[in-house]
Symmetry: C2
């Protein structure tokens, strides 16, 4: 035996074969079941079939390793012994649950079979054991239905088609005039079992398997099979879970929460998963199966009520909560069942949470000395910070709406934040409406895994049924969506596509506006304006004092820790003094990209810009540029003042000139009059600027090469502004950036202009300042010849948007025809315009960085594409040794956190109580 | 002295300081003057100031090295001694010429001063010496004029403005009623000298320098200065001559060909530079200055006439010709002067020649055992082969035109080939007309260096004056242009922009068609169709037997030698069986690129293609594709048959679909009717296919990924065709190429389809064939991840057109706005769409080749972009180790020759008589 590979891991009593660290092999559920056993928490005995069997299964045409059978039989024996019952025994039958359990949680994605082991004989044993024929037959009919649906494949592929067993059940109730399942007697349920079996025979041409061992193999096969169902594949893609991981199968003794009023079932979180408060949080139902709670069919009671209903049970549960939090040093999500007064823990795992809660719990646990600040940072996905920055409804406006009678209902505050959008009544409509540019609130009776894509496309999710741990609530929190769940007053009619409200005449149609407050659970008719979050109110609006907001304080602690760890600098992309000030409030350490052309659109400037473009001669062009000079200069003065000595990277004119000209006939006619030229001349000019591929056209430094006077004007505006501000005693640190360089000679020409003008200005003004001249690296040729370019350029800034477009040969504007397909079919791991394509475009970044440093050791290297605020891309930038990332102001905190996590991912995270001496203080890159 | 750097190199008598190999230091002219002295050819003594002085001059703000003065004085002493005259001596003055002499010949580009050393005193010595006051004053006035123009800068910058000295000269002649310069007497010329000097004083406020040493320094400075004049800069750019090379200055004793009827001057080639025949070829004039011959002012006599006029001189000259050819083992171009009966050689250099002549001479010299075949190949610029392939006029049509009286005149056959185009009467007009897409014949009285750009823009050049060695003839041959020179019957009126013909009423206007035959010298009114060259007639038209054409035989010898040397395979880009057959005749070894979409446009196919595009469903699309299948298959069958086992690379559908749809309203309406769909639907479809950047849009393998059925159909057509042909006993070797791959996953998807379909077809047909599946590397991301892609791709073919576009971020269609400027201003060394950008795009090619071979050692790597037929790019492909290049059929011979030269450039060329054992036979790359 010892030579053979171990595929099956027993757990039960006080000792398990596995442990928490064996998640890769046992899946999350199996590993944690083993761990609970090991730390003395009562768990129904069972065994885990390892993920290696899943891998083997798919590598060997759905065959199992030959050792498996004997190992399962051996473990089953141990389970029988521990639970004092026998699988298939007609007197004292052991019943089993068979569930999937992957390394990463995939809630509801794969199949589960309960009550396995029942047949016409063992059901009698169950009756004898429980003295409850109705319970026994109800268990039996549930098992046959589940087995028929899942293992034998009777569940219709079309999600809108009816389950054949539900049809039979419905007819049965109709026949007897019943409304509820609970009205059915044991005899009715027994009839149903026979009718279900007949349906199976009819559909599959095979008898329902009566041998419990056959049932077990069937169920195990179904769980492995469900690893490759469509839902699971989509979920893995959305969550970047590799298919090679496989799932484990957990076979566990059944315990029943529906054995009467001394039985029950529940789920709980060791802390509040919505706001992160350190209170026991959960729900339970007496006389119910666990699936009833999770599926949201009945609305359960808050866990604190259990304290009153059964203080002893509550005390035990709270004790286990304490053991688990101390042991795991994490907020845990547990499932429990009370079978005839005995409390069993069925599952525990790290609990999902809102970004809000994630930040609060991590910061609290550091303060409680449960974890280190490094662990805290490692636990927070940078994008979760969004939730602290996200707008909330303005309370006055909301109260006004409520005063007007627009409060439709109140549900559970399952996903915080405020969202307003058009009602969509199914996932497909939500996707279509979102694709058309609408903000959407997905409104469902309850959600199911089939709805994931629609949920992802929506701003918020509103459900009529289900609790804080329902599918809708779990998934919404994970996605960072606003969610109000269990809003039972809503009367949703899928057929008419309407939403009614109990006790009201109001009826909304699909497409009407609705607003939901995921922090309070309020559902309001119509559109509501939102307002800034606490953090924003402290930092940007300055309408709230830091001390008054615990959310801000939590945010602030986290950011300080992140800053103490990260090595990357974080700058911002900003074009205006006010934007720059916001970015500073978010912790930006400089401006990485100031697009001068954004300034060209404001006020009267566009007229001067247009004059410049339609000029026939150098003189005319220079005259138009002279009008722009003071305007640009004053913009730069404003920015330099705000940035107060921090580096400010200013890019010279980049977009193709036709972007500044109008295209409609009326606008052309107007502009021609304004510029005092003929319409024909203007049209000809516009025509002459037309390009087949504007992305690859006359733009970037090509403009400055053809019209050096533009670069001259801009260089003058920058240096004059810098000198003026410097004369006021404020430090300035301008970095002038030449865009779209493909060849060192282009850079040289532009650099020469900048340096000449700078010298002139400094001489005129009698004051010298320091400044740098560098370039965007946004073309593959520039990346590949970065060693040449760095002989002159003092800094590089990767324009990864254009670098992605050119490296892939992919126009962002045109990619809509095929890029979604590419992501959907896993041709590309993700949209390369969202997350940097590390293996392709990233290689160019790495090559250019190395080559650049080979010619100029201290060259400053950063990134200013939109990837600069995307966490995985920020980590990449850290790994390849950039000096800074630059992103939009609101993403600065996310980038700061991602930069810190990058450091921790490079090292191993220091854990509380396991540190080996003090970690070196890391200094930021210069 | 020995510690000091040597800047000045003396030559004269039997011994010179320099030699031919010192071209870098002494320039071509100086090195060859030295060499001639060393091999016993009489050369007027002189000295060469090295190119290092030029470099020093420009590096040190136009100052000379301090040693220079003494070295010049010392050399001058030796010259005086050798020539028996003294510089500045009033009795026996030594006169000097001062000329530039760069490493590479730059005919007429830089300044020259003759007769230097004359002043009011020394002119008397000259009179005494020659007893010819008219000659002496004519020399003097020429010197003052030249010195005034060149050294003192009186020559107007505006080339249309009149030379002030010519104005004075003109007035003088007018005053005396003279028509010709020769009518002026010594006294008149003496007056002119004074008037010229007065003009100089007037314009420069300085007296004309009388001290010969001052004159010498002025002239030396002017020559160095002319290295940076605009003409010279343009010439260097056109000919890729680096500015750093600098020019040398040759100071040489004057000898005079205009000292009377026992004096003369001439230029000659040791073989015929037009057709390459081994006959002495040249022209001379008695009683003339050398400049008179070169400038084409008088039409000189053929050298063979000298044999009659002066057998002794001819014999001497023919003897020198023999010495020179044996010594240089090359066709040499010489200038000579006879001064009062004594023959002096003034210059020798390797002679310029037509492509025609280059090939013939090289092949002949191998047969004469003068050079090795490797040397022969090294001497022929691959593009010169064009002249052997270039069309000629159809003789019947030409004779008919002549019969109709359209033969306008006959000139010298200065540049072979046939050209027809619109008359342009100045270089600027020629450029403008050519830019507008017209074929242009530049018609000038004579050409000058200012006309170079216009000549380059024209198909052919026709001049009224000047001989075979005139500026027009020399430059045209070098450029490979058709040229008829010295066609004195033409009466060209620049002002009216008309061309009249002596003795005829015909008058052509600018813009009228004219045809010139550079092989016969005929000038014909109107447009004439041309017909294929001898080589084409043998290879393609098969209207001429190989034995009957010596041109073909020469071509064939050369190609055989090239094939024995080259390692690169040469394939062709061809889409049709007849194209493929042509390419085979040119020596193609396979097809490197067969664009399947070219087949989509023929006949009814376009309708099926359009049906496919507008299909709403998979079924409709498949039905349309089914119509295309037999058509594509039969195309491929034709190609496989012709190629007879040679590899055929077929690219699956590449262009964006909108390229197949019409865009005008009438065409849309027609097509809608044809396809039986509404116009609106068709318009919507066209609209939906519109792209902002089609170059970066929905094309290449993206089509096959979105519509796998297209790839399926194409794979089926290819494999069915291959199997069908194979069944006929003909070998087939298909290579299926997936375009625009950016990521390995795209390739995998397409490869899987191809292999699946291939297996199906081979099973259906019961016959297996070998085939490869590979990819274009035409996107930077593909190049950079070539190691991944090569895990699946069996070959790479670099699509350097698109790779250039994406690496530079440069749309070929839009680059017209700035790319010409980039080339003109030397920002880019050349148009990267013509010659591969080796330092940027080339790096990507190199990286991808290395990475590809790191995953798949034997991966076949080629290039199929238009660079595959451009000689410098072919050499690059050899250097980085590609297996083959592929180019258009007519460029195949050029690529074969370039590939051979690449091998020779890698090794050192084996020279006749210096070989060390037999060279290893090189085997082609597989």
């Amino acid at each position: 035996m010892s030579n053979k590979r171990k595929y099956v891991y027993y757990f039960g009593g006080k000792k398990a074969d596995g442990k928490a660290r064996m998640k890769g092999l046992l899946g999350g559920k199996g590993a944690n079941l083993a761990e609970m056993v090991n730390i003395g928490i009562p768990v129904p005995a069972g065994f885990t079939i390892s993920t290696e069997v899943c891998t083997y299964y798919y590598d060997h045409k759905k065959k199992y390793p030959k050792e498996l059978k004997a190992q399962i039989i051996a473990s089953l024996k141990k389970v029988e012994k521990r639970m004092g019952a026998k699988f298939g025994d007609v007197k004292n039958p052991l019943l089993l649950s068979v569930r999937s359990g992957a390394r990463a949680s995939m809630p509801g994605m794969m199949d589960t079979i309960l009550n396995l082991g029942l047949n016409d004989e063992t059901v009698k044993g169950l009756i004898e054991k429980t003295n409850n024929p109705r319970f026994a037959y109800d268990s039996y009919r549930r098992f046959v239905q589940m087995y028929g649906d899942v293992v034998l494949g009777l569940k219709p592929e079309d999600k809108h088609a009816e389950d054949p067993f539900e049809v039979i059940l419905h007819q049965k109730k109709k026949k007897y005039g019943f409304k509820l399942d609970t009205e059915l007697t044991a005899e009715h349920l027994k009839e149903l079992v026979e009718e279900f079996k007949a349906e199976i025979k009819n559909k599959t041409k095979h008898d329902f398997p009566t041998d419990p061992i056959d049932q077990l193999w069937g169920a195990v096969g179904a769980v492995f099979g469900s690893w490759m169902n469509e839902r699971a594949i989509i979920y893995r893609r959305l969550n970047n879970i590799p298919a090679e991981w496989g799932t484990a199968v957990n076979v566990q003794s059944m315990v029943f929460g529906n054995m009467g009023e001394d039985s029950g079932t529940g789920v709980a979180f060791t802390r509040d998963p919505a706001n992160g408060e350190n209170v026991f949080y959960g729900e339970y139902l007496f006389n119910a199966q666990g699936e009833d709670v999770v599926a949201g069919i009945r609305t359960p009671h808050p866990i604190l009520e259990l304290k009153k209903e059964s203080p002893a049970l509550y005390k035990k549960l709270d004790h286990y909560r304490d053991i688990l939090e101390k042991h795991y040093r994490e907020m845990m999500d547990v499932e429990f069942t009370i079978q005839q007064g005995k409390l069993w823990m069925l599952q525990c795992r790290v609990g999902k949470r809102t970004g809000f809660a994630a930040v609060k719990m991590a910061v609290d646990m550091v303060k409680e000395k449960l974890i280190t600040k490094e662990e805290a940072i490692a636990r927070i996905e940078p994008n979760q910070l969004n939730q602290l920055l996200r707008p909330i409804f303005d309370n006055t406006e909301k109260q006004k709406a409520i005063g007007e009678g627009r409060l439709l209902a109140k549900g559970l505050n399952a996903g915080p934040g405020a969202a307003s959008g058009k009602v969509a009544l199914n996932a497909h409509d939500a996707e279509v409406m979102a694709a058309a540019g609408d903000k959407v609130i997905l409104v469902r009776i309850e959600t199911s895994p089939e709805d994931i894509k629609g949920m992802n496309a929506s701003e918020g999710i509103l459900t009529a049924r289900g609790g804080m741990t329902s599918h809708a609530a779990l998934v919404a929190r994970q996605m960072g969506k606003v969610c109000v769940a269990g809003c039972s007053a809503l009367k949703i009619n899928y057929k008419d596509k309407t939403v009614g409200v109990e006790g009201s005449n109001i009826s909304l149609n699909e497409g009407d506006y609705i607003s939901i407050d995921g922090t309070t659970g309020e559902v309001i008719e119509g559109k509501l304006e939102s307002k800034p979050s606490d953090v924003i109110q402290v930092l940007i609006s300055k309408t709230l004092k830091a001390k008054q907001s615990s959310v801000y304080q939590t945010y602030n602690s986290l950011m300080k820790w992140a800053d103490s760890i990260r090595k990357l600098n974080v700058r911002t992309n900003a074009d205006q003094p006010d934007q720059s000030a916001n970015a500073l409030a978010f912790g930006a350490e400089g401006i990485g990209l100031c697009r001068t052309e954004h300034m060209f659109f404001g006020g009267d400037r566009i007229t001067a810009v247009r004059k410049m473009i339609v000029s026939d001669s150098l003189e005319e062009r220079k005259a138009a540029l002279a009008e722009l000079l003071p305007l640009q200069r004053s913009d730069f003065e404003g920015i330099f003042k705000v940035m107060n000595g921090r580096p400010v990277t200013i890019r010279t004119l980049d977009p193709p000139l036709h972007e500044f000209l109008p295209h409609s006939a009326s606008e052309i006619s107007e502009l021609a009059a304004e510029l005092n030229i003929s319409e024909k001349k203007l049209k000809d000019k516009i025509e002459s600027l037309h390009e087949f591929n504007p992305m690859l056209g006359f733009r970037g430094c090509r403009l400055g090469v053809a019209f050096p006077e533009i670069t001259e004007m801009q260089a003058r505006a920058i240096i004059e502004a810098a000198v003026n501000i410097s004369k006021k005693g404020i430090k300035v640190s301008p970095e002038i950036m030449i865009p779209l360089v493909s060849h060192i000679e282009e850079f040289k020409l532009q650099e020469d202009i900048v340096r000449r003008v700078a010298n002139e200005v400094m001489k005129e003004k009698g004051k010298k300042i320091k400044y740098l001249v560098g370039t965007m690296i946004e073309l593959p040729r520039a990346a590949i010849t970065a060693d040449e370019i760095a002989t002159r350029a003092e800094f590089f800034s990767f324009g990864t948007n254009d670098l992605t477009q050119t490296a892939f040969g992919l126009s962002r504007d045109d990619a809509g025809k095929f890029l979604p397909l590419y992501v959907e079919r896993d041709i590309l791991p993700s949209d390369p315009f969202e997350a940097l394509d590390q293996s392709g475009v990233g290689q160019l970044v790495e090559i250019a960085t190395k080559k650049g440093r080979s010619s100029r050791k201290d060259i400053k290297v950063g990134i200013c594409g939109e990837h600069g605020g995307e966490p995985s891309s920020v980590e990449f930038c850290h790994r390849v040794g950039l000096d800074y990332v630059s992103c939009s102001p609101f993403r600065v905190p996310i980038a700061r956190l991602a930069a810190a996590r990058a450091v921790l991912n490079g090292n191993s995270v220091k854990k509380k109580g396991k540190s080996k001496g003090k970690q070196k203080k890391s200094s930021k890159r210069k």
